[in-house]
């Protein structure tokens, strides 16, 4: 087969690994992100090679989640380790011994937390701060005497921070940093996009794109959206913010929301997925409060109130006129 200009899987995988290494290493900027996107878009061979390495690298995160004393792991409430992983603690001890000295000087670790699609979890930190994880969210917390750091790897979380100037509370998403200045705020991460909304108090948002560092002070009602190389800040009313935080009460609040945006919101919380057939339908505005898990209630409204057609096939529903 080699005479038929087959693309060499070994080379492609090497390229994919080089990209991933750069992605996870510290010096990564907007230009790099675009270049990676371009490389991935070239062929499915590139894309699958990269996805495969990335998925494995992410799965290997479990190693770090497990590697801390049992006492510390079980202390915090709502610790995200599944029971099955606890069994594996024994295996970990074995690894620590066999993998050599390198594994022995482990740092005082991070604690990993995760929620499944549709789940909601509250973490109470020892200092009185609270973190609420929304659906499909992954974050890590590291606390030391001098600082508290939360890495939001995916999803959305609400932070109610017990401010302590001597022990800054920082939320990191990629190269971006949100530093608490006495506050309640919510952070949402979608791939490269970051949204920070301040419910009370103030935060500082630093976007560390190389060459374009940018720092913004956000106050109550500010909603900042940072994309790959742009950032915008708008003001929202307390009512609007409260609506956006409906998930904390287990509901989605739509107020003149487009059907397309509403469907997308539902899809974050459910395995059953909604699709809107065309853009005209997607632009219809809707109002109402729905339980996050009740897709049926939503499709019923679409049918009965908006007179739309809903076709369900397995776990997918298509909404059309």
């Amino acid at each position: 087969m080699s005479q038929l200009q087959r693309k060499d899987a070994n080379n492609i995988e090497a390229c994919a690994a080089a990209w991933l290494e750069r992605r996870v290493s510290e010096d990564w900027n907007a230009e790099d992100a675009r270049a990676l996107e371009a490389w991935l878009a070239q062929s499915w061979a590139h894309r699958t090679a990269y996805l495969r390495l990335e998925a494995a690298w992410t799965r290997a995160d479990r190693l770090s989640a497990l590697r801390r004393p049992v006492s510390e792991r079980d202390k915090g409430r709502g610790v995200a380790l599944k029971p099955a992983l606890k069994i594996a603690a024994i295996a970990v001890a074995a690894i620590a011994m066999s993998a050599g000295a390198a594994l022995l000087f482990l740092p005082p670790g991070e604690t990993n937390y995760a929620t499944a699609v549709g789940a909601h979890k509250t973490i109470n930190l020892a200092d009185g701060s609270r973190i609420e994880l929304n659906t499909d969210t992954v974050l890590r917390i590291a606390q030391s005497g001098s600082r508290r750091t939360v890495w939001l790897d995916r999803g959305e979380a609400f932070f109610q921070v017990r401010h302590d100037a001597s022990r800054p509370f920082v939320v990191a998403t990629g190269a971006r940093r949100i530093t608490d200045l006495g506050t309640k705020f919510v952070v949402r991460r979608d791939h490269d996009q970051l949204q920070v909304a301040v419910v009370e108090g103030r935060v500082r948002l630093d976007t560390g794109e190389r060459g374009h560092p940018h720092s913004a002070l956000l106050t109550q009602g500010d909603v900042a959206i940072a994309k790959t190389n742009t950032m915008s800040v708008t003001k929202k009313s307390p009512m609007k913010l409260a609506n956006e935080l409906g998930w904390r009460r287990g509901v989605l609040v739509f107020d003149h929301t487009t059907l397309a945006a509403a469907a997308q919101e539902f899809n974050r919380y459910n395995r059953e997925k909604l699709f809107v057939a065309d853009t005209a339908t997607g632009r219809l505005a809707i109002y109402g409060t729905f339980p996050t898990g009740d897709v049926k209630a939503f499709t019923r409204v679409a049918q009965q109130v908006l007179g739309l057609h809903v076709e369900t096939l397995g776990s997918e529903s298509v909404i059309s006129r």
Partner: protein, 198 residues
């Protein structure tokens, strides 16, 4: 094109491309449903293809084909879809070779995909996963392993690792990239790819 095995449940040929389907949906599907089949797929390829040095390329081509097809429509049932694609690809490759052993094609065509499926998908429990990771780490050359551990477990940056190990950042880069590949093999394609043990 590959055949999509499962007929549309709605019956009469309503082959509707899904709205809003984009590369990200396929990405998710690939990671969630195709990658876990990799070990079985590798077994299938090793069993049905003599030249082991070509297996990595075959796997890549299969992934490419299934994703291209999935972009049109995600298959209802991923496993038979992937294995049918694999079989069809092998048949194509045999035919390309010109000096075909007709026998081989016939054999491949007669392959009953269903019977080649391993039983229930193995649920990789945490302990097993850790053992796999351990095995992957153990296989790495010492410096490479140390680098992966520092990056993955200690959360050190490339520069910090370079300083601690007294090597260049380029070296760290190389070790990490190799480590990533080894981890992927250990987690997805056990039994590991034989030609890439170096």
């Amino acid at each position: 094109m590959v055949e999509i095995l499962e007929p549309n449940r709605e019956g009469v040929g309503v082959l509707r491309p899904r709205p809003d389907m984009n590369a990200r949906d396929v990405d998710d599907w690939f990671v969630r449903e195709v990658l876990p089949l990799e070990a079985a797929l590798m077994q299938f390829l090793n069993h049905n293809w003599r030249n082991k040095s070509e297996i990595a390329d075959l796997r890549q081509d299969i992934y490419e084909r299934v994703c291209e097809a999935a972009q049109e429509q995600l298959p209802h049932n991923t496993k038979p879809f992937v294995f049918t694609t694999a079989r069809n690809l092998l048949i194509d490759r045999v035919r390309e070779k010109r000096f075909v052993l007709l026998d081989t094609v016939a054999k491949l065509e007669a392959l009953d995909i269903a019977s080649n499926e391993p039983g229930a998908e193995r649920v990789v429990i945490a302990r097993e996963e850790l053992q796999r990771l351990q095995a992957a780490l153990d296989c790495l050359p010492r410096q490479c392993r140390k680098t992966v551990v520092m990056a993955k477990i200690d959360g050190l940056s490339r520069r910090e690792i370079a300083v601690r190990m007294g090597v260049s950042e380029e070296t760290v880069k190389m070790h990490l990239a190799n480590g990533m590949r080894a981890l992927a093999d250990a987690l997805y394609s056990v039994p590991a790819n034989p030609e890439r043990s170096a």
